[in-house]
């Protein structure tokens, strides 16, 4: 039992589940209880036995289902790695992803309450985005209309038999060469259809912002449309490029508009993603209206004026002292390096992903037992076995850097992020109180997690 919980602690730390604070149902519970709860939620452990439409969390009238969670995981950049994790590690990852989904939905609900979807900032964004999608889809349809003959396909298959990548590349290259010709032909047809006239000869240093450079049926481009800066730097060739590109974009967009594409789902997805981001942008402007907010934060946090000592650390964690001693002997005998063994045996997933390379660790940010050992170690030496809450650790210091003073300009970006992080936690807590967040997934498994916590406490006594 002890081994399992040691592992669980490491996982929750790694994915930073501590900040997951469902307000309505679990406000009074301890962090430890929450960690256990997330890890042992049966649905997060074995979702294949559950129904995809099962609702995990509700926020006002919006549901987050198991299918939403699985879709989010499948489209995340770490999905390949996710499949290689143990069941409890995957459950922790699902918990982390669920937290992110809840945060996004919470912000979306609040954005709707503030009617941000009606704001000019959003409506302009949405229109530009949908225009872009329509343009891309039209070109995609054009590309897909190019079909290779059966003979051509057979020839390519024979030539690149056995190599899927080479076959796909040759096929794409053949289609691309035909696409260019088809694209030019289509553009010419559209120019004729919309009676487009280009007035390149009007591009002179004397032209006015409202000088018309392209005219067609319901289409027009002026000098001011091509550049936001009509006052300085006249550059004829750059303006010509702009004129051709924007004419092409307008013609294709116009043609795409007449195709009657149904883009409502894409618009909905964009709204779901853009509204939370827009709300965050607004809040950040509120928290940091200008640089004076950053300077004030810098002045009121003297601890930030000095960069602490840093150590580049390698670490391996295992569940038993016996195993740690055995691995230490192998490293000292030169059989394998600490990093090779960490990637194979470490029970800390973070250490395993990074092959034992913990990167640069700041003084005061690690566990005290580890920091004590670091101070006693020479560079590249392997520590004795160190017992910590994570398990039995072996560490090595690759490089040390002593702290130095840092001024406001060196850490301006960091200050900005720190202010955002601090305010965001409070803001999200406030939103959770304001909107009804119901963690159904937790209620179902509370009892089970509570029993596990009791087991752990009694085994510690």
């Amino acid at each position: 039992m002890g081994y399992r919980f040691t592992g669980v602690y490491a996982i929750t730390c790694c994915f930073n589940l501590r900040q997951l604070r469902p307000v309505n149902t679990m406000r009074q519970t301890s962090h430890q209880f929450l960690r256990l709860l997330l890890i042992f939620l049966s649905i997060l452990l074995a979702p294949c036995h559950a129904i995809a439409s099962q609702v995990l969390v509700t926020i006002e009238d919006k549901n987050i289902t198991l299918a939403d969670l699985e879709t989010a995981l499948a489209s995340s950049p770490f999905y390949t790695q996710f499949n290689t994790l143990d069941e409890d590690e995957q459950a922790a990852m699902r918990g982390y992803m669920l937290k992110r989904l809840v945060t996004a939905r919470l912000l979306e609900v609040e954005a709707h309450r503030l009617q941000l979807e009606k704001s000019p900032a959003f409506t302009t964004d949405l229109k530009d985005y949908i225009d872009g999608v329509r343009y891309q889809k039209y070109l995609q349809q054009l590309r897909e209309s190019i079909k290779l003959s059966e003979d051509e396909k057979r020839e390519l298959r024979q030539q690149f038999s056995g190599s899927a990548d080479a076959f796909a590349a040759a096929r794409s290259s053949l289609i691309a060469s035909r696409y260019q010709a088809l694209f030019q032909l289509t553009l010419q047809k559209l120019r004729d259809q919309y009676h487009v006239q280009l007035f390149q000869d009007r591009i002179t240093p004397e032209m006015k912002p409202d000088t018309v450079l392209m005219q067609g049926d319901n289409l027009q481009l002026t000098y001011a449309d091509l550049t936001s800066d009509t006052e300085t730097d006249f550059n004829k060739s750059a303006l010509l490029d702009q004129l051709f590109q924007q004419t092409e974009y307008m013609l294709i967009s116009q043609a795409a508009l007449s195709e009657n594409m149904n883009l409502s789902k894409i618009a909905q997805r964009y709204t779901e993603q853009r509204l939370p981001a827009l709300l965050v942008e607004i809040k950040v402007k509120e928290w940091i209206p200008d640089d004076s907010a950053l300077q004030a934060y810098f002045q009121s946090h003297p601890a930030l004026h000095k960069l602490k000592d840093r150590w580049h650390i390698g670490q391996l964690v295992v569940a038993t002292r016996k195993q740690a001693e055995a691995l230490r002997t192998r490293i000292i005998n030169g059989e394998r390096s600490l990093f090779q063994l960490a990637s194979e045996f470490s029970i800390d997933p973070e250490a395993r992903f990074n092959q034992g390379d913990l990167g640069w660790v700041l003084q005061g940010s690690g566990m005290p037992e580890i920091e004590d050992a670091i101070k006693k170690l020479k560079n590249n030496e392997i520590s004795p076995v160190i017992r910590t809450i994570k398990g039995y650790n072996l560490i090595t210091v690759l490089e040390r850097r002593t702290g130095s003073k840092q001024n406001y300009y060196q850490i301006k970006d960091k200050l900005r992020q720190m202010i955002i992080d601090e305010n965001m936690i409070d803001y999200l807590t406030e939103l959770q109180k304001e909107h009804r967040v119901n963690w159904l997934v937790m209620e179902n498994d509370q009892k089970k997690a509570y029993e596990l916590l009791q087991d752990k406490k009694s085994s510690e006594k």
């Binding site: 499949n83 298959r157 899927a164 194979e344």
Partner: protein, 168 residues
């Protein structure tokens, strides 16, 4: 004099031995496949003879390889639809057992996963014609155990229709 003869003799023996070793090293891919004996995820040893008389789709993969994971649902579907007396998907994972087991559970792999270390697996790939040691790599074996097709990269429905279906 005697010692000179001995030296000559030992040289001849050594030369013939190294030639034999060389000969063993350049065995044909078909022989290499027939000599494969690897454990599955529960440690039970297998050779391809276990599926004798079936068309075998032999797939080399690794858990860290994204295209390998992409094609796994295809392989699961082929095994589900055609697996039985005539056809069998067999995979060889070049990886840690723990990770292979986790991917098997996560994606619901329904065919045997044999295990080989990365180094041994890389050597095996070269001997089987995948000189660049690219995974995924797939070999199609006829019912008579002959190699009929090798495929670097993702194995998809097109490849299955062209190179496997006619053998069934």
């Amino acid at each position: 004099m005697v010692s000179g003869r001995l030296k000559k003799l030992s040289l001849i023996i050594l030369t013939s031995l190294s030639l034999q070793l060389y000969a063993a090293d350049v065995q044909q891919p078909k022989q290499v496949l027939h000599n494969i004996k690897l454990p599955d995820l529960s440690g039970e040893s297998h050779s391809l003879k276990d599926w004798k008389g079936k068309v075998i789709l032999l797939n080399f993969w690794a858990s860290w390889c994204t295209p390998c994971q992409y094609e796994i649902p295809n392989l699961i579907s082929y095994q589900k639809r055609y697996g039985g007396k005539k056809f069998q998907v067999v995979s060889i994972g070049l990886d840690e057992i723990r990770k292979l087991k986790n991917v098997k559970r996560s994606l619901g792999i329904n065919y045997p996963v044999l295990v080989v270390s990365q180094q041994q697996g890389a050597d095996l790939l070269v001997k089987l014609g995948d000189r660049q040691q690219i995974v995924p790599y797939t070999i199609i074996l006829t019912k008579a155990g002959e190699i009929s097709y090798t495929h670097q990269g993702e194995f998809d429905d097109n490849a299955f229709d062209l190179y496997v279906k006619p053998l069934l």
